[in-house]
């Protein structure tokens, strides 16, 4: 028999290394000789989208789109340490460091523009699309490439460091401020359980993710899809089948992960409420997007069958056994 049920999961997640451990990102921004902006950060692009959103954060300082940015993030000889691509910390931490560095560079570029335009103040100057101009008299302007070529051997290069705030908790009571910021999220799913085969299908699903502010909504949604798939796999598929320390399921023929065929059409809702300490209000979301998925599925399985699954993954074997036990009770 096929039985349907609905379940919810709601979670929170603390960003960063935590517990007072120094969570430090360094970023650098530099005016290139052709007027483009060189950005150097040690943030690793693992597929999460940092190469794209870091460009967006830096471009924002110059009132431009990402084309103005030359981006360097793959060589320890040329970029400084921005910490690990983990703990959902790169958008927040390195994003903050990069915003600070970009703003410092922008200020220096505008200062140069003031001199080159023979103005007595930087007040009223604006930077947009590769040009610095007087907002009230737009014909008074100079391009970033003109500024760059006026510099000769001088380099406009700025560095900034951002350190996230967290405190070491009390050893006896665990009281303190271990992480900041916290993100929130929730999922709702409707499952269909086949009580003959023990298979769990997801019929409908929705995820809502708090982001502070989305630097790139498309990439947030990408993370939500990926997080849902990983949470789904965690709840019902993925099993190493450990036998005395041996991984029996060590290839994708027996270590099952969800495929596109398993994925439901996920409704993705981005919740924005800017975080004042984040770059343009942004928080990191790489990890939280998966945390609410498995519990929503487990609660839906209960709603469908009346069986409470306390061990994951809920493989067909495990679910059939539990269904049988509940019948005999």
């Amino acid at each position: 028999m096929k039985k349907r049920g609905i379940g919810y999961g709601c979670t929170f997640y603390g960003t960063g290394y935590g517990n007072g451990f120094p969570d430090v990102s360094v970023a650098e921004a530099e005016l290139n000789s052709d007027g483009k902006i060189n950005v150097y950060v040690g943030a690793t692009e693992c597929g999460q989208g940092s190469d794209t959103i870091m460009r967006q954060i830096a471009a924002e300082s110059f009132g431009s789109s990402v084309e103005i940015i030359n981006y360097y993030s793959t060589d320890t000889d040329i970029m400084k340490d921005s910490g690990t691509a983990a703990a959902s910390r790169q958008t927040y931490n390195t994003g903050n460091a990069l915003r600070l560095a970009s703003e410092k560079l922008k200020d220096r570029v505008i200062e140069k523009a003031k001199d080159l335009l023979n103005l007595n103040t930087t007040v009223g100057l604006k930077i947009e699309n590769g040009e610095v101009f007087l907002n009230s008299f737009k014909a008074t302007k100079i391009s970033l490439s003109e500024i760059a070529s006026s510099l000769g051997d001088e380099k406009l290069r700025e560095e900034a460091t951002f350190v996230a705030h967290s405190t070491e908790m009390d050893e006896e009571t665990g009281q303190g401020c271990p992480y900041w910021p916290y993100t929130f999220g929730a999922a709702a799913v409707e499952v269909e359980v086949d009580t003959e085969t023990g298979k769990v299908d997801i019929i409908r699903a929705a995820s809502a993710q708090d982001v502070g502010r989305a630097i790139n909504p498309e990439l947030v949604e990408g993370q939500m899809d990926g997080g849902f798939a990983m949470g789904y796999g965690y709840a019902v598929f993925e099993d190493l089948n450990l036998k005395n320390g041996k991984i029996v399921n060590n290839r994708f023929t027996n270590y099952l992960i969800p495929t596109a065929m398993d994925m439901p059409e996920l409704e993705k809702i981005i919740i924005e409420d800017p975080e004042s300490t984040g770059p343009y209000g942004a928080k990191g979301i790489g990890e939280p997007v998966m945390t609410y998925v498995a519990p929503a599925i487990l609660n839906a399985i209960y709603d469908a069958t009346g069986v409470r699954m306390t061990e994951i993954p809920v493989t067909p074997e495990r679910l059939l056994k539990a269904l049988k036990e509940s019948e005999t009770k």
Partner: protein, 416 residues
């Protein structure tokens, strides 16, 4: 009005990845490069004697590296330096690296692996973290208690909270170890650039790899350069060292480029797993739906090595009560060594396991109270000004209510 922030900017690496132009470490070939393959332990717990003489005698084998060839420290590890680059006297898990064969072709390297002779003097293993905590359990790391970490929360008085509760739910939940299952198994190439060793690998933290390579090779950090080309997913599984030191040691010793590629089976052995958690929950609430007390014990299996065990079990403990205000909280989380695959960072990092428990507890209590699960959550959920189990005030950007309302409005019993 923003010029770039908030825009659905097309991802800059998309085209190269979908057209196959992106360069992953496996795609890099160099003139005169050698090929490295790792010999790994086939047993979970044993004292070992290693003989590579026969393997090294094969034509086309350039060198077989073992613990005695390490030029710096024979260790690495993100928190404790408890991994050996090559196990010297003892193995602690199946898959522990013992030797690294470098040969002229991958086929010869593969052949040489079969000629390595390891005498295993097996020791009783321990695979259940609860048993590993018991007095007299086999010690995974000699002279060291298997329970390596204990985190505590003590807030209010849980006994009093339970005494005043109208409903109490007690249950045990279990989550298994899982793999990151990233698409691209580990691969890398290392070569010399003057006196500098260059290691080209997919890693989540190139600057930390540089430190660990430098320590193991016994050279200054300035003589190590990490290049990080395209990465096919990570999810925490590329935080601990896998082949980086093997490659760097080999290319620096032999003054030639050395390349290594893991297949999927070896990838499963090489990197960390998500910690398996055993979570005992006791939750108490009043008849009108207010949470009064939560008591949680978490035992996390870190397998043979510590990796991030303290941080993961700490994060698990901090998040154990979920996004809900609870006045009385007692949490104990433990990280324990076993002879299982080692556990480390994985997406969620200790905050992924507890929701499996606390969100089911919430539904069970709601049902006992005859309350809608959303309505019950809303009576306890974090809002602006809420205080967490660690006493932290959430003073801004607290959107748990909006998130839960958003999904509940999309999927509920009325719109089937």
């Amino acid at each position: 009005m923003y010029s770039s922030v908030g825009k659905r900017e097309f991802r800059v690496d998309a085209e190269s990845k979908v057209t196959g132009k992106a360069i992953y470490p496996q795609d890099i070939y160099m003139d005169g490069m050698l090929h490295g393959k790792t010999f790994r332990s086939s047993v979970p717990h044993a004292r070992i004697k290693v003989d590579v003489s026969e393997a090294e005698a094969i034509e086309g084998v350039v060198k077989v590296f073992t613990a005695k060839d390490i030029t710096g420290e024979n260790y690495h590890g993100v928190l404790f330096k408890d991994h050996e680059v090559f196990c010297e006297k003892k193995v602690r898990r199946i898959g522990d690296p013992i030797a690294f064969v470098v040969a002229e072709t991958p086929e010869i390297a593969e052949e040489a692996l079969k000629k390595i002779v390891v005498e295993y003097d097996e020791i009783e293993g321990v695979f259940d973290p609860v048993k590993a905590m018991e007095e007299g359990a086999p010690q995974v790391h000699d002279g060291q208690n298997n329970a390596v970490y204990h985190y505590k929360i003590r807030k209010g008085d849980v006994e009093e909270g339970f005494a005043k509760s109208d409903v109490i739910v007690e249950k045990e939940y279990r989550t298994g170890m899982v793999d990151h299952a990233f698409l691209q198994p580990e691969a890398g190439i290392s070569y010399m650039e003057g006196d500098k060793v260059v290691v080209c690998v997919s890693t989540q933290y190139p600057h930390f790899d540089r430190i660990e390579v430098a320590e193991a090779l016994g050279i200054p950090e300035e003589q190590v350069r990490i290049l990080n080309p395209a990465i096919g997913g990570a999810f925490g599984g590329r935080e601990d060292i896998t082949m980086q030191i093997h490659l760097a040691l080999a290319s620096r010793t032999l003054k030639k480029p050395v390349k290594s590629i893991y297949d999927r089976e070896e990838s499963f052995l090489a990197h960390s797993k998500r910690h398996a958690f055993i979570m005992k929950y006791k939750t108490g609430a009043t008849s009108d739906g207010k949470l009064l007390a939560t008591e949680v014990t978490i035992i996390g299996d870190t397998g043979a090595y510590a990796s991030w065990v303290c941080n993961v079990l700490r994060k698990g403990g901090v998040h154990a009560t979920g996004p809900y205000e609870v006045p009385n909280v007692k949490v104990d989380s433990y990280g324990v060594y076993t002879n299982n695959p080692f556990a480390g960072a994985m997406r969620g990092f200790g905050a992924t396991q507890p929701p499996v428990a606390y969100e089911q507890q919430m539904d069970i209590i709601a049902e006992k109270l005859g309350m809608d699960p959303i309505e019950f959550r809303m009576k306890n959920i974090f809002r602006k000004g809420s205080i967490t189990a660690t006493g932290q005030e959430l003073y801004e950007s607290v959107t748990a209510v909006e998130c839960l309302e958003a999904v509940a409005s999309k999927i509920n019993k009325n719109n089937r």
